[in-house]
């Protein structure tokens, strides 16, 4: 368990930051200031924050189409990240990558919008780390949808036989876009499916940031030390629709309400108050600070220019 109240408060701050950042992103969409699409992370913040809290700065993270939380938890500059979402030149990829494909190599972060695809890239990065005898590990976030993609299973098997330093973190939010896992697989415990490849697997409550952090802290030393890959399933729920235009006709409002009661941020707020004796005003203070920080990020992104159209041909080839 986390012993220090400040550590728990820091996790709270990071989760709430992601939540409020995305609320701002949603608002910017309604104002027409972000073009394209977005897949929100609302309800899953505990996973990114819990996992990334146990990583070293030079550990690598690969992410998915639903990657805002992963990026911010990995420590990407929020202003530059927002600029990327807005297609601005101060974005990490000068607006070329957008919400689903952001890469910040300096931050050891790479996302790809193909289901399970970046986890294959992550497996290759882990192979390089092993061959170069580095102590870095890779965390590849995937969703339940990737559990039915062939390339992901190939990569999982390869990581197992080669004992690669990688942790696959599967955020099982029950829905691959609109389709419930009950429609797409017989075995509902995803860590059991992964276990068939002969690697260590765990399942954890994905809305319990302290449990996730604890779990990662327990396993990461072994992965770093060459014991081979680990698969961690975090059971959670996507409170938002799949993407910004999803009317959520495939599930009930009652089900959504049930999961809102288990909201990871509310849950940690409760623990902070009950176990660590923070009072409400202290939590409000955190929220007010985040508001200010997000304002800075918004200002940064807003003041950034769009890339020059003449740059369109740059970097097709190295």
């Amino acid at each position: 368990m986390v012993n220090l109240p400040q550590e728990a408060l820091a996790l709270y701050q990071k989760m709430l930051y992601i939540r409020m950042f995305e609320e701002r992103v949603a608002f910017l969409f309604t104002r027409g200031l972000i073009h394209g699409t977005a897949h929100f992370y609302v309800g899953q913040e505990a996973v990114a924050v819990g996992v990334c809290s146990a990583l070293q700065k030079d550990d690598f993270v690969t992410s998915t189409h639903r990657g805002h939380g992963h990026a911010l938890a990995k420590g990407l500059h929020p202003g530059r990240f927002l600029a990327e979402l807005q297609g601005k030149k101060d974005g990490f990829c000068s607006g070329r990558a957008g919400t689903q494909h952001t890469i910040s190599f300096a931050d050891h972060f790479l996302a790809n919008g193909v289901t399970g695809g970046a986890a294959v890239t992550g497996t290759g990065i882990a192979l390089a780390f092993k061959m170069q005898k580095k102590e870095q590990v890779v965390v590849s976030f995937i969703g339940d949808g990737a559990m039915n993609e062939g390339h992901f299973h190939e990569a999982l098997n390869l990581a197992a036989i080669w004992k690669l330093p990688i942790i696959y973190v599967c955020e099982n939010n029950l829905y691959a876009m609109s389709t419930h896992t009950k429609e797409t697989m017989i075995v509902q415990e995803l860590y059991q499916r992964a276990a068939s490849y002969g690697l260590e697997t765990f399942g954890v409550d994905g809305n319990d940031v302290l449990a996730i952090q604890q779990q990662i802290k327990t396993i990461i030393g072994g992965v770093r030390g060459g014991n081979g890959p680990v698969f961690l399933e975090c059971k959670t729920y996507r409170q938002s629709g799949h993407s910004k235009n999803d009317q959520r006709v495939y599930r009930t409002r009652e089900e959504e309400e049930e999961w809102k009661q288990k909201d990871p941020i509310l849950r940690l707020a409760h623990i902070l108050q009950q176990t660590f004796h923070y009072d409400e005003s202290e939590l409000h203070k955190v929220q007010a600070e985040i508001s200010g920080q997000i304002e800075e990020a918004v200002q940064f992104a807003e003041s950034s220019l769009f890339p020059m159209k003449e740059t369109v041909h740059d970097h097709v080839f190295a």
Binding site: F60, F92, C93, S94, R96, A97, H101, I103, S104, F105, A106, L110, N112, G113, V114, G117, A118, V120, T121, G122, T123, G124, I125, A126, L127, A128, F129, M131, Q132, G150, H151, E154, A155, N157, L158, I161, W162, D314, H315, V316, F317, A318
Partner: protein, 320 residues
Amino acid sequence: MRTISYLEAIREAIIEEMKRDPAVFFMGEDIAAYGGAFGVSKGLLQLFGPERVRNTPMSEAAITGVAAGAAIAGMRPIVEIMFMDFITLAMDQLLNHATQYRYTSNGQIKVPFVLRTPSGGGRGYGSTHSKSLEPLLQGIPGLKIVAPSTAYDAKGLLKAAIRDDNPIIFIENKLLYSKVSEVPEEEYTIHLGQATIVREGSALTLVSYGRMLQESVEVVTQLGAAVEIIDLRTLRPIDIALITASVKKTGKVLIVEEGFKTGGLAAEIVAQIVERCFDYLDAPIKRLASEDIPIPCTPILEQEVLPNKSKIMKAIRELL
């Protein structure tokens, strides 16, 4: 000068580059103790050990995607896809991942790896082990494609490809593996993106690559005709400058390829010629390619589908 086979030239290139640069490693199916389905990597395991000569499961998507990931993190993988027909299993990792990362990252990363694969028919292997899928790969931004026709070119181009900082598909026609030609002992590389004139002529420009290039050379030699033969060597990007210069001289064009005709490489070359030097053409451009038919096993039918010497001869005669 000494002579070695196309296969030996490829093996030499791999060995030399692995000795030169510790970041280069090799992986694929049955490439270690077995030495690869066609024997290209025989002896590599003994030379470099299992860390750098990695046998993989039958997992083309993972092999390709993992190569891209390792390349991003500083390695220079060479991978072998046992038959070009199986490249479809790796397609997503090629076109949605490996070839996109550099551009979408705005140049933050590079993805240097070479995917070697044997292509082509003529051995009676049937529809899943005989195809030349170059056309399928033409429309992938960020990808380079190389297809040598001689042992000399195979060695020089492969060494250049391994040193290049981009994802590259290196196509080796199976029937060329045993073909012997002069290859110097001294080190050399050949620039990617440069075609070459293998025979000068004034009456017709014949553009080809790989095995069909060699078939064409034999036919033209036999005919003694004034045909200028261009070996593309690199299929992406196409060296259109060399082709148009020749077309302006000859006024007639025949393009010979082993891939399927519809949407083939020739279609792209024709379009570029027409865009650049339409006024110089004295006759309609002719294309010779495989028929749009799955490649059958039995030799009598397979020969009907693939281009061959007699079809090339007929096409040249029609144009001259």
